[in-house]
Subunit: 214 residues, 4 copies
DNA sequence: TATGAATGAGCCTTCATTCAT
DNA sequence: AATGAATGAAGGCTCATTCAT
């Protein structure tokens, strides 16, 4: 009588969940809005996913898998690629992910993920382990290749210094827009910003590698 | 019958608000818990602050003013200080603020603030303008002094690269703890981390200043 | 556990609403009392009607429709009926409605309606248009037939003089009971009072029709 | 520190009570609004009048005394006045009171009084006895003089028929405005309406006096 | 498989009143 | 005589979830 979309209810629920959780977050989102958008019954979320929270986790997982697919940190990298080349690919793919593909729903969900990183909910641990850790280890490998002989702690610190420059464009997106809008990360200036971060970081790495004489 | 301290209710309410809002955030916090902790009536929040939201704003404002007082970005700086000295003070005070003074309530509130930066609520704009902007402009002044003749866009980017390295310890605190616990920012390694960020950044700035030859 | 009659909740709510709103009015009535009486959950009113106010409107509408059905102003009137006969039917049906059928709930609701006439709430306009206006126009038609050639203003005034005599028994019911209890409108004296109003009004109309000679 | 008006707080409270109770009625009015307007403390109403309800009664009493003073039903009447003259004075003074003097506060309070007549609150009885009864008895005396020999019941009914025509302009003020705005009672047409009611009523009385022959 | 009805816990707020000062 | 602070009761409403169908 009311069946609307071609996909099954569960799929529509997930889609609606992406949208509503993206916009309002876990707590502020309401099951009712999700079900309205999905053109499903109020009970549908509990029926298909068990609870509001479990739908939230499903949404996050779905989002994360999509991002991983869309933005591999080693896209086009070959065994012959130099560390610098590999670092550039890494940084750029990171920035590309932050910029997003223009889909506002994905953009909102990115914000939710950021929130989970700042303050992980109980459901986030496994997601974290499966996504963030390998990604970060890839960066450490690159940096390690650029600083032969340096201890792991230094490697980690360098990796953090690089990653910090990238994530700022995610975390502080709003702040940047307000304070230095010309710095805002956009599809159009991604290469320029990648260049800058590369140059700044290579300068930093060089300094670390050579130490401060005298 | 339940009177705890005559005329201190408002202050106790603010204190309890810090604690409860810090732990649960605006939406998840309940007026009832706040009032219970403050040993006040359920109506007390509305009476003294007008509404739950207004108490939240008061809490945030109070927190921010405390932080500003505790961690001035130019502590001990004199007109004779060199840009490098001033940058070091800036970076260290930033890290000191992130580490906190051990008060778990303040730590939680810091997380709320971070959340507001990622996704500012309607109440945050003015707070933002009065706190973040001047702080960031101070950093830009320092960087400008280190890159004479460079255009403003480059100044901004350098400032961002520096700030990104610092805020990572705030934003990604949880992630760092899980992935590279030896990197976790603590009172005991603040100087060491400050040194590293300084060295990395000075290397980066030098590279930017001299450009890439050849 | 408390389920009373499956699927009858909405009807029971309306019934309870009639009772409670009738007794206490919109503001003084509480959703809780209504739900208690209806043996429903506190949330039931919002669930089925959207809000307390909307239930109130539903109650009023339901009451009005019942009254209209029970007391048509032209009951038994035929095209052959004389104006005097039609006026008598009109007056009597009006008084019958005021007397009521002995159901105290309906009586209370009548008082609410009276209140809405004195001071219409925002919800009352449409109800007013659909009920009061047509009823009153019917009376004007009757009076017009009794005063051929008179201008509309005079028709209106006569209609008002007649209606005023009727509604007094509604509006001033309490006052009459206290001051001249023998005048109180009851099922037993409806005909007698109808006769009086008819005679007084016919005298008045005759006077208006003939003007004051000399 | 905040003392404002020249009168004492109690007088200002009464004035504010007239305004707020007039606008919102007993239940909907709030002590806070009254005290705000009176520039007094929230506790002032309880302090000076004992409770919200008692202030309400005081307001009503004050209003009623004013009306009695402003609109005596026998203004200008002398022992030589004929019953018809006295009836005209009575009707006109009634209509004058309904029209009011343009003070919106008084107009609102009139509505409250009307409400009390429809559904007397517990506090209204004495007020009722002291005001409505004598007024109505005066009308009955007039009518009695016009219908010598008629029994009291007929006197009462005639009085009601007359009074009904008058109060309609009060009770149904809103309805008249909507349905037949040209009939609305205004200062400018008071004489015209008085004339009409007089003529209609004298016709009615004549009919009652002479009975229906045959 | 899916739903409409119903629930119960809980939330923020309002308000008249009280009390110590 | 008057007040600012504080209270407790209550009120309307929201929401995730359950259940019979």
């Amino acid at each position: 009588m009311k069946k609307a979309a071609p996909h099954g209810t569960k799929a529509r629920l997930l889609q609606a969940g992406r949208q509503v959780f993206g916009q309002h977050g876990l707590k502020n989102a309401t099951v009712r809005e999700i079900c309205d958008i999905a053109q499903a019954n109020v009970a549908a979320v509990c029926y298909h996913f068990g609870s509001k929270e479990e739908l939230y986790v499903a949404v996050l997982k779905d989002y994360l898998e999509g991002e991983e697919r869309r933005h591999p940190r080693d896209k086009g990298v070959t065994p012959q690629s130099t560390p610098v080349e590999r670092l550039r690919v890494y940084v750029k793919s990171f920035l590309l992910q932050i910029v997003g593909d223009g889909d506002p729903v994905n953009e909102c969900l990115g914000r939710r993920l950021t929130q989970e990183i700042i303050e992980p909910s109980q459901h986030f641990s496994r997601i974290f382990e499966r996504h963030c850790r390998p990604t970060h280890e890839m960066l450490q490998d690159i940096v390690r290749a650029m600083l032969p002989g340096k201890d792991e702690s230094t490697i980690s610190r360098c990796a953090s210094s690089i990653i910090g420059q990238c994530v700022l464009f995610d975390f502080a997106k709003e702040a940047i827009t307000r304070m230095t809008p010309e710095l805002e990360l956009k599809a159009s200036n991604i290469d320029s910003i990648t260049d800058f971060i590369m140059e700044f970081s290579l300068g930093g790495i060089k300094q670390i590698r050579e130490g401060s004489p005298t």
